[in-house]
Symmetry: C2
Subunit: 417 residues, 2 copies
């Protein structure tokens, strides 16, 4: 052990220093050796228990990365509700108090290492999305929609809310039978298949995760839609061709700020004067790098932009922003369901990938849930159109007409496989 850490006073000082990072959140801190700090009242939200002074010192040096790493490998545990603890921490975190120069350097190094070049993107996406579909089947909905759901009404469950989201996107875009759509970043293909089967459009959907593309192609074949939906295993930068609509759901986060010029070129090539597009992405209120631990362990190279930063993709192209909706609380609810399903399958996940992996993913899901609840993460849907696009109605009534919703629900009931 680093010698000074043998002093009880040093340990106490470190504990208090770490505690200040989240003040005034009602979070109690404890070292296994007995020292306590942080909130002392009986109504504490949760307690962070740190195994040893070494871990504590690393927490003070770089709390952003070390909290997750120590939690994942068991050097730190949480007594009480993890998501509630994180939410409270996020609400009270101030950018000024978190992060030593060392932590900032580590964060920048990570950004450089994980740059989303064509090659880097492939590696970054592979690390997360190619974990095997069997893993994701344990806790996502049956169609494997791995983006924010839309709880059009409160009684919906995850399954219904994901269908509602896909339908909401199609209705925002006002897809017409016979039209062609390009999708950049299509996950396991649920939206492309929904568009084709429910709206009669042709879809070309791009993705660089081979596992996801293989899965999506199999599903298209099973549904008899392989003539109508083409899944292309290629980078978004290589999108070409003419389309009536552009859609990108939960992919902009993976583009990275340094590559917005390339993404803008794709939009410029695909969205013209008479057509329209929709971007759905995790965003921020203020410009800030994504949590370094999440980038290191979960989403390499990811960056959630502010709405203003995302508009850099649209504004120079003379496209009109038609509608922006913030669905942050829908993502919180989606994550609640994902986390609950994940916990139910925790043993199975442990058998597949080990106990450390379970903790790592638990922390990621709980942390994301906390981020959306606290408002450190936002979810934006941005609909935009060329100035001669005649398809977008002048009011948004059509998105909320009750008869239509009921009719749609009937159609889903018949069509869901």
């Amino acid at each position: 052990m680093f010698a000074p850490l043998e002093s009880r006073r040093t340990r106490q000082w470190l504990l208090q220093n770490f505690g200040r990072t989240v003040e005034p959140a009602r979070i109690c801190l404890r070292l296994e050796s007995g020292e306590q700090a942080g909130y002392a009242g009986p109504d504490a939200i949760a307690t962070i228990v740190v195994r040893d002074a070494n871990t504590l010192m690393r927490l003070v040096m770089n709390p952003e990365i070390e909290f997750g790493d120590a939690y994942a490998d068991g050097r730190l545990r949480v007594e009480g509700n993890l998501a509630a603890l994180l939410e409270s921490a996020f609400r009270n975190l101030s950018r000024d108090r978190i992060g030593t120069p060392y932590a900032r350097l580590a964060s920048r190094w990570l950004a450089w290492k994980q740059n989303n070049t064509i090659h880097g993107s492939r590696e970054n996406i592979h690390r997360h999305y190619d974990l095997t579909s069997d893993f994701y089947k344990l806790w996502l909905d049956s169609q494997l929609v791995y983006t924010c759901a839309y709880y059009a009404d409160d009684s919906m469950n995850l399954e219904q809310a994901q269908v509602a989201k896909m339908d909401y996107v199609c209705r925002k875009l006002q897809l017409q039978p016979g039209e062609s759509v390009v999708e950049t970043g299509c996950g396991w293909g649920a939206l492309a298949l929904h568009m084709a089967s429910h709206y009669g459009v042709r879809v070309r959907a791009f993705n660089i995760s081979s596992e996801q593309v293989a899965f999506a192609r199999r599903r298209a074949k099973q549904m008899g839609l392989d003539g109508q939906v083409e899944f292309v295993e290629d980078d978004y930068r290589n999108v070409s061709g003419d389309y009536d609509a552009f859609a990108s759901i939960g992919m902009l986060e993976h583009v990275g700020k340094g590559h917005y010029g390339e993404m803008r070129q794709v939009i410029a090539r695909t969205v013209k004067k008479t057509t329209r597009g929709l971007l759905h992405f995790i965003g921020r209120n203020r410009s800030n790098p994504l949590n370094a631990w999440i980038r290191k362990r979960i989403f390499p190279g990811a960056y959630p932009p502010t709405l203003r930063e995302a508009l850099e993709l649209i504004e120079p192209l003379d496209l009109a922003v038609v509608d922006v909706e913030n669905l942050r609380m829908h993502y919180a609810r989606t994550l609640e369901e994902w986390l609950a399903r994940f916990e139910k399958s925790a043993n199975r996940v442990g058998e597949m990938f080990g106990a450390e992996f379970v903790r790592l993913w638990r922390l990621y899901l709980a942390g994301s849930l906390a981020g959306f609840r606290a408002g450190s993460l936002q979810l934006f849907q941005v609909l935009f159109a060329g100035s001669d696009c005649k398809l977008i109605p002048t009011t948004r009534h059509h998105l909320y007409r009750t008869e239509q919703t009921e009719e749609k629900e009937l159609r889903w009931m018949h069509a869901t496989p």
Copy 2:
């Protein structure tokens, strides 16, 4: 006359040069002396008739300003539909083709001269809004709402659509009885009075047009709302106090890009973690100064920002953008009704201010109508909130519920004075 203009060839060359500004719009050009250029087919949208070669030369030098000035003082007339002509021109105008260095210099000089300092703003606002309420009564709705209306359904007329707009703003903000609202730039006070009478809130409404404030105060007294609504004749920069909601309708256009820092400070002072605000403003797809003639003759110092530029007011404050709606086609329709009413009162306006004033205002109204139709102007409503604001529902269903609309309409019928 400037000697070379006596040559027929020079005149023809100038005419063709001017024609290229709007190519390939189907617009025919003619000099009173007989020369023609531009579109020659029988399906021309309209013909621009220029009185003399001197005017023609000035049109080539600075079309943006000279078209309006020559139209207003009768050196240029339009045969055919003025708004259709302008719409077609706007659709075909390219930034690269319009404006000599002289025109750009004139535009910048104007921006400097009309800077919206506290003093400059007073002068700029006085020039437009203090023209006498009697003039505006001739062609606005009965409550003198001088901003984009909201045609919630197609059958609405201007009167109903302005009430629908005010109600839409209140419902987007989810105003609760007993709350307090601050409004920056309140026109003749219709929205503040609507908020107070229909939503039971207290309002402090700022405006630097003395004529409008006097009118609004009289109306508040007549409606028995002077205890609930305070009209303050002061600059937005002097707003202080705590409020539950912030609203600014059709005022950001007058702030000017160089003063967004001051406007941001006002929002920072008034919109906190648990409260919310709404900005409603004329915007653009791409950053571009407002038409120089409009700035010279109609709206000194005005600047319609892009959505991205407007977000400079919100993003640094860690407020979440909740909802953005583009109501461009609603402004086109509002302007159609204003223009039609204006034309009906043209004789009366002529008696009040002379024939040149009538042409000037006709061109401004037709030009704005054309701008919204062509997409060179947009209308954004931006709803934003602090991260702990609990009042904004997670879906937008509540804005479109039919029963509620009907109930509201009944309430309007009883409450409209």
